[in-house]
């Protein structure tokens, strides 16, 4: 009797905790509300199954507990019941998987009009690169990384000259504009994760990975490193500022290009002419 009550209380407690919990995901700031929707569907289906199974178990423990002279039934199999349960489970699984795959298809399909921004991870800081007026970012090579060229941009690639390089500060993104984030790492695996965006992807040294999103809410958001990168992992934070186009343009104006950072003397001379 007591055991059955405790089992039922575990279910009730879990459900109550779920609905009253002050710990819940942060308000979304990107187009990936689909992910939240899929998660909500999953919560309902799995919650119903958990509740049903444990309450059924609690009922059995109460109803069929040992008493003097009691004898169990003898029923080795029930093909019909087993198949119905398997089919029902299959339907429940499909109800979660189908929307999941549809949303994944969107997640891996970058819109044609997406702009590009690069995020580079390095123990334990972030750097960012935006394309210049030509709309392209230049080639890079890890062998070219120096103190003056921290991202290893190829100086021979003309597309790289006007690239905007931002170190250790915040990345600014334009509100409502889809952006493909290209991810690089110079040392170990990192992961640039803004919980409000819901999206993340590891950055692997030696290769370029990516994900895309459309920021839908203006504001400043903290970025967390989400892949263990040794002792500074906890403190490897970055930031993203999402702002409307005009403010974004103003900010962009103030940033330095690769060419400017490479040869400040030459640029200054050019400006004085």
């Amino acid at each position: 009797m007591g055991v059955a009550i405790v089992l039922a209380l575990v279910v009730i407690g879990s459900v109550v905790f779920h609905f009253l919990s002050p710990w819940w995901w942060t308000p979304i700031a990107s187009n990936w509300g689909y992910i939240d929707d899929t998660m909500i569907i999953t919560f309902w289906i799995t919650g119903a199954v958990f509740t049903a199974v444990v309450l059924f178990m609690a009922y059995c423990v109460f109803r069929f507990r040992h008493r003097e002279g009691r004898r169990a039934a003898y029923e080795p199999e029930n093909k019909r019941l087993e198949w119905w349960l398997a089919i029902g489970t299959g339907i429940g699984v499909a109800a979660m998987l189908a929307p999941g795959l549809v949303v994944w298809h969107r997640f891996v399909t970058v819109p044609k009009d997406a702009t590009v921004a690069e995020i580079v991870g390095q123990q334990w800081q972030w750097a960012y690169r935006l394309p210049g007026a030509d709309g392209h970012i230049g080639a890079t090579d890890i062998a070219l990384v120096t103190a003056d060229n921290p991202l290893g941009i190829d100086p021979k690639d003309p597309r790289g000259q006007d690239d905007i390089v931002i170190q250790g500060d915040q990345l600014h993104l334009q509100l409502g504009k889809p952006v493909k984030l290209l991810l690089r790492s110079l040392d170990v695996v990192h992961d640039f994760y803004v919980p409000e965006f819901r999206a993340k992807m590891d950055m692997i040294p030696g290769t370029v990975t990516y994900y895309w999103l459309t920021p839908t809410r203006a504001g400043t958001f903290e970025a967390l490193c989400s892949e263990l990168c040794s002792t500074g992992h906890t403190f490897m934070r970055g930031g993203v500022v999402v702002e409307p186009e005009s403010q974004y343009r103003d900010w962009l104006q103030q940033q330095k290009t690769f060419a400017q950072l490479q040869s400040p003397a030459r640029t200054q001379a050019k400006n004085q002419e």
Binding site: V3, V6, V10, S14, W23, W24, W32, I35, T38, M39, T42, I45, T46, V49, F50, V53, V54, M57, C60, V61, R65, H66, R71, A72, Y74, P76, E82, L85, T89, G90, V93, M96, G100, L101, W104, F107, V108, Q123, A143, L183, D187, V188, V189, P195, R198, A199, K200, M201, M203, P205, G206, E222, L224, S226, L228, S230, T231, G232, T234, F235
Partner: protein
């Protein structure tokens, strides 16, 4: 129908082949230390695994103290914290769970439940244990070497795992990799033994479809382990070469702390694929023996046949096979080829179906049963609750796009602890309360057992259920403090304190269990040969504890499946597997 006894089967003749002469120990050393008797080896495996498990428990206390009360224990800096989590994870998954289920329960139960005198290769079996012990000692030496134990996370992702600023990079990682290689060598010896014994060593009449589900679970898991561990083996060897000889299997050209390293052209993702090709089947290598054992616990203590035996066997095999094509669901956000997500999400969610069938069949076994709420039964019930909970959160993480925000957060930590930490360990406890009387001849103390159960079950649930919600907020795992994150409200710190207090209490409850193990050895109630009135062969031995050779003069002959509980018309509510059918009268 299954091999269910409605009609009268052909009585089977006794063995026609002669009994093989056993190895007989001649001294105390060969009887209790370098023993070739599977029962002694099983106890050696179990005690070693429990001892190293205690180390892992203490490590978890320390890491929980840091998370609940940051800075309280001053020597836990980030470096130490990462050493704690790395060693805790490695020990629990491999050196405790794998070793205890297969080396411990496998060795004890395979010969006894199948009616064999011993394993088929006793000498190799002995070697298996001693190599395992060596692996454990090498692992523990990691705490003592210069630079301390490995602190790269138990997943050991390169390049981080072997870089100079990673904790334990000096010696810890080398020692750990060597220990893993040793473990796999030792396991392979034992594993081949278990598989061949199951296939070749069964008593007369013990057909495959008359084997208890415990044996099916251990057998399937062993086959899987023999196929999965080689992937870890090669990954460990290659990483060792990268670390010691400067090869570049997993190391691309990188700049570490401003300095370019000599590595060039290797692939960090390749390691992840190898690791998880082992790592995912590993989850089921731990789970399938637990599935099998819990089926037998429920059936015995509910005095009812397991529901849907054949479906249970096929579900075990289906899960075992499917678990080899789901590994990359650990890598949805690793930067691998994105289209893999469709395939691995589909296979992962399909595996939920045979798993769900097992759950249904456990609870349907309770239906119309005669449920004795013994300590093993309580642990079995606790297993179902935690396994269902942890299995269902797997549907979040397996469904590729839902995994994107959750991966590498505390949600994952909560999920895998619930499903492959708490759930299998509850089965281990249930199994120990169940089989201790056979191993020692005495019962464990019932009241202490119930105390141990309630604190462990409710406490572990209180630790890991709320932890999901910390992850849901977006808090990454492997942060040694979460206070500095902007989106984390101060109330989360209170929750973390609560979880830590619960963890300390649950840990302390394990001391009650240890006390019970030792105390009952001398003071437990004498158990007799078959205290649970169970049907399977290990309870029908002529001696308790079973003597060398297990069966005395003649091997048992099996006449029925292992679940003849409460058979209509039978006088007792159980019919042992070796009980001949009563000839039909009239």
């Amino acid at each position: 129908m299954v091999d269910v006894m409605h009609g009268v089967p052909e009585p089977r003749p006794a063995a026609e082949t002669e009994d093989v002469e056993l190895y007989h120990p001649h001294s105390w050393i060969t009887k209790y230390v370098f023993s070739q008797d599977a029962k002694v080896i099983a106890i050696q495996y179990s005690l070693t695994a429990l001892a190293i498990g205690l180390v892992a428990l203490v490590l978890s206390w320390l890491m929980r103290l840091q998370l609940g009360f940051p800075g309280l224990v001053s020597f836990i800096d980030p470096e130490r914290y990462y050493q704690l989590i790395t060693m805790h994870g490695m020990i629990m998954v491999i050196y405790l769970l794998t070793a205890l289920f297969l080396g411990g329960f496998g060795n004890y139960l395979i010969p006894l439940m199948l009616g064999a005198r011993d394993m088929v290769f006793p000498y190799v079996n002995m070697l298996s244990y001693w190599i395992y012990l060596l692996a454990v000692l090498v692992l523990v030496s990691g705490f003592l070497v210069p630079g301390g134990a490995a602190g790269a996370g138990w997943t050991l992702y390169p390049p981080q795992a072997i870089l100079a600023n990673t904790p334990g990079q000096q010696w810890g990682i080398i020692v750990l990799l060597v220990s893993l290689i040793l473990f796999i060598i030792g396991f392979t010896m034992g594993g081949l033994n278990y598989v061949v014994t199951v296939l070749q060593g069964r008593a007369r009449g013990m057909t495959l479809m008359r084997m208890p589900l415990t044996i099916w679970g251990i057998f399937t898991a062993t086959v899987m382990a023999l196929l999965a561990f080689p992937a870890l083996f090669v990954a460990a060897v290659m990483m060792l070469l990268d670390r010691l000889l400067g090869t570049s299997f997993f190391m691309p050209a990188i700049i570490a702390m401003g300095e370019p390293l000599a590595y060039k052209g290797g692939s960090p993702i390749l390691f992840q694929h190898l690791f998880w090709f082992f790592g995912h089947p590993e989850v089921y290598i731990v789970a399938l023996p637990a599935f099998g054992i819990v089926s037998d616990l429920i059936s015995t203590h509910a005095r009812k046949n397991i529901f849907g035996y054949r479906m249970m066997v096929w579900a075990l095999i289906a899960i075992g096979a499917l678990s080899f094509v789901v590994w990359a669901h650990h890598m949805y956000v690793s930067g691998m080829y994105p289209a893999f997500g469709f395939f691995f999400a589909t296979t992962t969610l399909i595996i939920a179906i045979p798993t769900a069938i097992k759950v249904y069949n456990w609870v349907l076994t309770l239906w119309q049963g005669d449920i004795h709420l013994t300590v093993p039964m309580l642990f079995a019930l606790g297993f179902i609750v935690t396994f269902v909970n942890g299995g269902l959160t797997g549907l979040f993480l397996g469904n590729v796009v839902v995994d994107v925000p959750l991966s590498d957060t505390m949600f994952v930590v909560a999920h895998f602890h619930m499903v492959m930490g708490v759930a299998p360990i509850l089965v281990i406890f249930g199994a120990i309360y169940h089989w201790y009387p056979k191993v020692t001849g005495r019962m464990l103390h019932d009241g202490l057992g119930k105390l141990h159960f309630w604190v462990t079950f409710l406490g572990a649930y209180a630790i890991f259920f709320p932890m999901h919600y910390i992850g849901l907020m977006g808090v990454p795992r492997r942060y040694h403090e979460i206070g500095g994150i902007a989106l984390v409200p101060p109330s989360a710190a209170t929750l973390n304190e609560f979880i830590t207090v619960a963890a300390l209490i649950v840990g302390t409850a394990q001391l009650v269990f240890l006390f019970n193990l030792v105390w009952s050895l001398g003071h437990g109630q004498p158990a007799g040969g078959n205290p649970w009135r169970a049907t399977t062969l290990e309870w029908q031995t002529p001696h308790t504890p079973p003597a060398h050779g297990n069966w005395g003069e003649t091997l048992p002959v099996v006449y029925r499946w292992p679940y003849d509980y409460s058979v209509p018309g039978a006088a007792e509510d159980f019919l042992p597997q070796n009980q001949p059918p009563v000839p039909r009268t009239g």
